[in-house]
């Protein structure tokens, strides 16, 4: 039996970027917040041994313990979903900071086209351009409306970058708070080659600070040292923007945040149209608590936002058979198979150094910046060269045809250790009728709750996009010039054990219409006005960019909406 605690104004579930931003904004405004986090508290002293590739990258130190909870996956509805038993593809964060602790720091804005993608696509190409199986929709917010929230997020995090003009990129009200990251020799090779080909390369926007920076909350952080331990790792310098060194300490300092770690929320108490609080388990002692609240904010990762709602019976579950309901709908990912690998016989680069958001990209082939009239896909991809730092367990790339082990493998992997890099791509992911999330009928978590089931595969749209983009990565690779160039032109099936990325989106999508979306543009649930579901779960599709910048902007908008709701109540739109 759960111990009932005194009612509070706001309970936040999950203390990553979304929960951290909402908590910081509310507590600064004098509102008491209980923050529930299933993992541990963190600060930079947790990262003092962070330069440990085995522990953090290959043993997933910062990630969700899959023995307690995972997802099940299948490529299509005919297949029985099976649990993801260990990590292979995406990595799900855990603890204070969440995915904002282990991320790389690439912090883009989405395009004006993204927010009005259905309207703008139909205007330019006619209503038949969008296939019946693609539930593409506008986001219920325009770029101009979301721009101030991007600006706030970027100033808080101190994003480093350079303004892109044209190519359908949104106009910025302010330049990036800090200048772009350093340009390395491999980035210069990409820059020269793409300029020769008529493209317009720019240094990608970074949450790894290019210079020391003090943000509007009074948080001072040091400049990035290019030490090469970003993704999968925490930053001991605090140079990488992380909730644990930005919004969480700010919220703590107000005295209005009651942060409870090792507190795993397993249930949202509700009557179908209003939540009264949550039930959580103290993961150390096993005790259960009921935390009543005026407002419940779900700010966990995409998967648990969806799973908590489905297990609670809040909102209408998506049904692929008749395409009704919204919870679990429009699960999207990222389409990044188009790439060209370059190997050099007699050049060595300082690839041991790097940063998670160190790279250069062209804006020419994203969104609707190029004519899709004769193309069998929508949107596009950012084509880029990045330098994260080649850690030695993970990076043993050898030319095709080389054996995967033995004398030849060893010799080639050492020969090319500092002499290869890819021209790669990050493509947009459009929704599909049969790509969705629901509850698994068989597998349960450590608390007896059904696991989330993912039904997902790459679509014809994705395969066409990869074919098109890979021609460009190959062209750029040839312009750079290398002794061996290998281009991947095919998008295979989604494989839960194949390393890709952690850009999972959708499932609790936003929109202007309660029939086709789960939350409004303030992340407020249509079906339960005191429930806000914040995160990349709100994206109706995923753009050709890393999701965190947009997730951060939406979190600031949600925080504003929650304050208005606490004052006035009712629907915010």
């Amino acid at each position: 039996m759960a111990t009932k605690l005194p009612k509070v104004p706001v309970v936040v579930v999950g203390m990553g970027w979304a929960g951290g931003i909402v908590s910081a904004e509310l507590t600064k405004a004098g509102i008491s917040v209980v923050g529930l986090e299933r993992g541990k508290d963190r600060n930079t002293s947790d990262y003092m041994m962070a330069h440990d590739e085995l522990r953090y990258q290959h043993r997933e130190e910062l990630m969700q313990d899959l023995s307690k909870e995972t997802i099940t996956s299948r490529n299509d509805e005919k297949t029985r979903a099976l649990p993801m038993r260990d990590y292979g593809t995406f990595i799900v964060g855990d603890g204070v900071g969440g995915a904002g602790s282990h991320w790389n720091g690439q912090t883009y804005r989405f395009l004006p086209y993204d927010f009005e993608i259905k309207t703008m696509t139909e205007e330019r190409y006619g209503p038949d351009k969008i296939s019946a199986d693609m539930p593409l929709q506008d986001w219920g917010i325009t770029y101009d409306e979301i721009e101030p929230y991007y600006d706030t997020f970027e100033k808080m995090a101190g994003i480093s970058g350079e303004t892109v003009e044209g190519f359908g990129y949104g106009v910025r009200s302010n330049p990036y708070p800090t200048g772009p990251m350093l340009k390395t020799p491999i980035m210069e090779l990409f820059e020269t080659a793409t300029k020769n080909l008529g493209y317009s390369p720019y240094i990608l926007p970074s949450g790894n600070l290019s210079e020391a920076y003090e943000n509007p909350d009074g948080i001072s952080r040091a400049a990035c040292q290019y030490c090469a331990y970003c993704e999968n790792f925490g930053c001991e310098y605090g140079a990488k923007a992380d909730p644990a060194v930005t919004v969480i300490p700010v919220a703590k300092q107000t005295g209005n945040l009651d942060l409870r770690t090792h507190s795993n929320v397993i249930e949202i108490l509700n009557d179908g149209s209003k939540a009264t609080g949550v039930i959580y388990v103290d993961t150390i002692t096993g005790e259960e608590f009921e935390q009543p609240a005026e407002v419940v904010v779900l700010a966990s990762y995409v998967y648990n936002n969806v799973r908590l709602l489905l297990n609670a019976g809040l909102g209408k579950p998506y049904n692929s058979a008749n395409q009704t309901g919204s919870i679990g709908k429009n699960y999207c990912y990222q389409v990044s198979s188009a790439s060209s690998m370059l190997f050099f016989e007699d050049k060595e680069f300082n690839l041991y150094g790097g940063a998670g958001a160190l790279g250069i990209e062209i804006p020419d082939l994203v969104g609707d910046a190029f004519d899709h009239s004769d193309l069998n896909f929508l949107h596009g991809a950012g084509i880029r060269v990045t330098q994260y730092g080649n850690r030695p367990i993970a990076n043993n790339v050898v030319p095709a045809g080389t054996p995967a082990w033995g004398a030849e493998f060893k010799a080639a992997s050492i020969k090319y250790a500092n002499s290869y890099f890819p021209v790669k791509s990050q493509g947009a992911s459009m929704p599909h009728r049969y790509n969705y999330l629901d509850l698994d009928p068989e597998y349960k978590d450590a608390y007896g709750k059904p696991l989330l089931r993912m039904t997902f595969n790459y679509t014809d749209q994705d395969r066409e996009l990869v074919k098109y983009i890979s021609k460009v990565t190959h062209k750029i690779a040839e312009e750079i010039g290398a002794d061996i160039i290998q281009t991947n032109e095919e998008q295979g099936d989604f494989n839960v054990n194949k390393d890709t990325n952690t850009h999972n989106t959708g499932g609790v999508i936003m929109g202007a219409d309660p029939e086709t979306s789960a939350v409004n543009s303030y992340m407020q649930m249509w079906d339960a006005e005191n429930v806000f579901v914040v995160g990349a779960s709100a994206f109706p599709h995923n753009s050709a960019f890393n999701p965190t910048g947009t997730l951060g902007a939406l979190s600031y908008r949600a925080a504003e909406g929650i304050q208005r709701f606490l004052k006035d109540g009712g629907s915010l739109v």
């Binding site: 899959l66 260990d86 909350d217 400049a223 300092q253 010799a411 989604f494």
Partner: protein, 253 residues
């Protein structure tokens, strides 16, 4: 070789100094206890000067077994050496203590799949659904070692460690291509993949885990290890080779 003393990550700049200079603060309060870290507290102690000197270690005390029998250890050494053999570049997996690394990994939490979802049922998976294996890593590995010997005896009438290198490669190739018998219904390539992964980790993981002896795995590929900063090197168009440093170098900071 670049002059180490000009590097930002040089030994004279401790993490403590670095963080002090970095101004990592919120409202004037130092964040996160980074400066007063566990490792910084006793830096100025002088008691060591009067304490009797510890005898110099001539052997590595971590090079001992937690898990394998001696036979299993030798078999692992031999198999790992074929994955990553000694060559003109430098030592192979055997000399780098990869088998010690593997022993230590299998003895610990990873060997018993402590962070994996291990609840049943276990169904046959599609290729895209990841492995669905009930057998723990430590058991799969030792069963795989036994299977290596069985297959070696069947093919060459001798144990794996007694085969010529080419014969060992033939046996490992059979395992990697699922041409060896299944191991308690697990494909032989799954065991091979575990062996390969562990070998690569054993030659390249930080020496604190027992392999990558004297950081020689890193030195072969000119990897400088876990330095505090590469801000000076990252823009250099020439390759800057630095001596490797491991995590133990962070302990004094």
């Amino acid at each position: 070789m670049a002059d180490n003393n000009t590097q930002a990550g040089k030994k004279g700049t401790t993490r403590r100094d670095f963080l002090k200079n970095s101004g990592l603060t919120v409202g004037g309060v130092v964040l996160g206890g980074a400066i007063g870290s566990l490792f910084g507290v006793n830096n100025t102690t002088t008691t060591q000067e009067t304490a009797p000197a510890a005898p110099a270690l001539t052997v590595n005390p971590a090079a001992a077994l937690m898990f394998f029998t001696p036979d299993q250890y030798q078999l692992t050494q031999a198999a790992a050496e074929r994955i990553y053999p000694k060559d003109d570049n430098g030592p192979g997996a055997m000399e780098l203590n990869a088998a010690i690394y593997i022993d230590h990994q299998l003895a610990g939490a990873w060997g018993i799949n402590s962070k994996e979802y291990m609840a049943g049922p276990f169904y046959k998976a599609e290729e895209t659904q990841g492995s669905q294996i009930r057998i723990l890593r430590k058991d799969l590995f030792t069963m795989g070692l036994a299977a290596l010997n069985t297959h070696s005896n069947k093919t060459f009438q001798a144990n794996f460690v007694d085969l010529e290198a080419e014969q060992q490669d033939e046996i490992l190739t059979a395992f990697s291509e699922d041409k060896a018998p299944e191991i308690s219904k697990v494909r032989s390539s799954i065991f091979f993949s575990l062996l390969r992964t562990l070998t690569i980790e054993g030659v390249y993981a930080d020496p604190l885990y027992g392999g990558n002896k004297d950081m020689q795995g890193w030195a072969m590929r000119k990897y400088p290890g876990t330095r505090l900063s590469f801000a000076q090197e990252i823009q250099n168009s020439d390759f800057v080779q630095l001596d490797p440093e491991s995590l133990t170098s962070h302990m004094g900071h």
